[in-house]
Symmetry: C2
Subunit: 465 residues, 2 copies
């Protein structure tokens, strides 16, 4: 420690990122004799599991986003900063933010928690991003919402039947939880929300295609539930294509490669025309992971996640912890082999609480403890009335699907929403949407200059069928 | 009428714009033996009187915006088109839309209702728009919300006290209803919503300045109510400056000219530093007004509004009606001098119903009727618990202000919100905001690349007071 007069006399914990991990870590430090500085690129904590609802116009953005400084208004040891960390100086123990083109004054830390999360990965094909936006931030969700709604508008204006059909092809790439939710909800929009509102097209004729490179949907689930999920998706009108590898994406659609038949070795390559592609396939850790690896020599895995020590610290740097989607963490149960922690929000939250406890232990001179992940199970929703649930209980797994699984999923998600007001609003929004089939957040802004609109061809309003 | 095979056999009414006037006209044509095509630049009808609530983070966008085609899903003679009209060919009776850089196929009309509304006017100083956004669209509201919230964030990061104070100067230009609402709500945010959430600044120290070039606020109101409104604003913490003419606006703030003293002829020019200026001063009619004037030789007023015939048609063109903010319309009461119709939503709605009725009269060979505006009064809210009400009744005007005026304003606005669901959500949002002082829609997106953020200077998180 230097003796700079500007430095606080209490130890300073800097937390980078206010997702589930960072939020939980800051909360767990409530009342501790230290100062917490929480830096995030946005002004809000985002409830990412419901982001697909914003993208599909079922919820408004404020319903799933809470202002960070509002969440911590009563926790006086937390200072919230809006900013983007570009560099960590592990020798000087400072973090550096991007700000207005100038280098900010570095921010000193005694303990650093890096919880910067993940973003989409296009497997090196960054040009695909323009044509197939992913779903990680509110801006992403608005972009996807805009493309979905404007595709139906463009189809309504398109006199050529072939081009009209192209506008009504919706493709979701990747059948993890987000891909499955997106595809299921798109089918619901096309079959239930929009019919009756158009005069030249039948929205129910829209094709929703879910592409998955692997052998089944929801690969984190037991095989029987994957099978149930696939059946429920198909019942909703989603065309599920497994073993389908995307090899190209451009403004006209995508090229898919799949085995030409059972047992066949050769691959079959074909094009799917689409103007609205949603990317739910790959995830890459924040670039801060590789930055830490370069600075400290620690290892990262293929997705750029940092290999952390059992107590979630950086090997050789007990003052730095890495948690959430940025950490390749393991769960440690005495007498058992360590197992990988899945990239789900309960994992991030548990890591946040664990590193906060370890920081308090270090400050009082105690040894840190290895992280142990408690797996309460796995939920995924598919669409109206459909979900799959795989719960872990002392008596063995509890698995169910269908309507009750959907109710269970709904209440679990509303329960975990941050802030009572949001819970109430989300429940009301869903109750309304459920009974009316309406989706109230069908608002598109920033239409001016959107490629989706400028690409809309000539109108022929008189060409009524 | 030509005999083009693509033309519908029923008369076609084209309505440009789905604000209050266009919406009401289309609704009033329900069940009529004609086809209505409703063209709007956006996909939603916007309840503009509550737009300032979106700008000040009190409401989410979907709460005050309803998808146009959803509103007309059960009115089968209405076709909704998302598009921007660039040209009207009055000889050929066609409207032309901007679309993807190509000219669209022209859309034929038998009757045309032009309800394209108004936008802000900077009195020829268009460069001011960058520094002082107005409030007409949802995109405007998001931009204003972003600037307000990010100004507080920037102040929190600013170590220099003088520059910090600049970030906390909020200026609203124009003391009409929107300016008064904005200033009152900004004061509420600074004094009630944000305190306790920042560690380096006191949000309550923010200065809210309301500039008005005229002699009083809310000039459409009786003088006594203007005086009451000014007192209520000042009680809320707003600094009201009358006789204050803005002569320049740039990135640092604005220059104001005001008389140097009572009875003085000379003017006093001074600067107000501010990073967050909201423009609520000038309104100009849509460019389609001047376009119609050039095409038909009709007159427009200084604000670009079209001088319409008593039945709201264009002189010499009974098949074209102009309504709402685009029309310089007069109210005709038999035996009285015609009076100007104020630019308020009840005026636009009444005009919409009147032209729909006149179109039906023309189709059945009857004479059209002159427009008569029914003035039910005038409401303006100022902030929490404060409003002024001026009602017209057969027994003479009913005027009141304060808490009951505010309740009256609130229920009147919620009542007129389009769509039951929105009403319920808005009431709940307000009930919650009222009791908690919280504003839940404090979500800023698109931070990346915003000038407001890139202008934030170096952080000094250790400089805690």
């Amino acid at each position: 420690m230097t003796t700079s007069p500007a430095r606080s006399p209490r130890p300073r914990v800097v937390i980078i990122g206010c997702g589930f991990g960072g939020l939980e870590a800051a909360r767990a430090l409530r009342g501790a004799a230290l100062d917490v500085t929480l830096i995030d690129k946005t002004n809000h904590h985002l409830f990412q599991p419901l982001l697909y609802q914003v993208a599909t116009a079922g919820l408004s953005a404020p319903a799933i986003a809470a202002p960070i400084r509002h969440l911590f208004r009563q926790q006086s040891n937390v200072t919230t900063l809006l900013g983007e960390v570009t560099r960590i100086d592990v020798a000087a123990r400072t973090v550096h933010q991007k700000d207005g083109g100038h280098a900010s004054e570095p921010l000193h830390y005694d303990h650093l928690i890096v919880a910067a999360g993940a973003t989409h990965s296009y497997f090196g094909q960054d040009a695909w991003a323009t044509h197939a936006p992913g779903l990680k931030t509110l801006d992403d969700a608005f972009e996807v919402r805009r493309r979905i709604l404007l595709a139906f508008e463009a189809a309504e204006k398109e006199p050529d039947p072939a081009r009209r059909a192209d506008w009504l092809n919706f493709v979701v790439v990747g059948a993890g939880p987000t891909g499955v939710e997106m595809a299921g909800t798109l089918a619901e929009i096309a079959r239930h929300t929009l019919p009756g509102e158009f005069r030249h097209i039948d929205p129910a004729s829209a094709k929703i295609i879910l592409l998955e490179g692997g052998t089944r949907v929801l690969q984190a689930m037991p095989e029987a539930l994957s099978q149930r999920a696939k059946e429920q998706l198909e019942k909703l009108g989603v065309e599920v294509r497994l073993h389908a590898r995307v090899t190209a994406i451009d403004g006209d659609g995508l090229v898919v490669e799949s085995p030409s038949g059972a047992g066949s070795e050769s691959a079959n390559s074909y094009q799917i025309k689409s103007k609205c592609i949603v990317w739910a396939a790959g995830v890459a850790a924040s670039p801060l992971g590789r930055h830490l690896a370069e600075a400290t020599g620690c290892a990262t895995d293929r997705a750029g996640r940092v290999a952390v020590a059992p107590d979630l610290s950086l090997p050789g740097h007990p003052e730095i912890s890495v948690i959430g989607d940025l950490a390749a963490a393991k769960s440690h149960v005495p007498g058992q082999e360590p197992t990988a922690v899945p990239g789900v929000s309960p994992g991030a939250k548990q890591m946040g609480r664990a590193v906060a406890a370890n920081i308090l232990r270090r400050l009082s001179g105690q040894a840190t403890q290895p992280f142990r992940y408690r797996d309460y199970g796995n939920l995924a929703t598919i669409g109206r009335n459909s979900a799959v649930v795989d719960l872990t209980s002392p008596a063995g797994p509890v698995r169910f699907s269908g309507y009750f699984a959907w109710l269970f999923w709904l209440f679990a998600h509303v329960y975990f929403l941050i802030g009572f007001r949001n819970r109430l609003v989300v429940l009301l929004d869903w109750a309304w949407a459920y009974w009316s089939f309406a989706r109230y957040a069908r608002v598109v802004t920033g239409i001016e200059g959107q490629p989706s609109v400028t690409a809309v061809p000539a109108v022929k309003a008189d060409a009524r069928p």
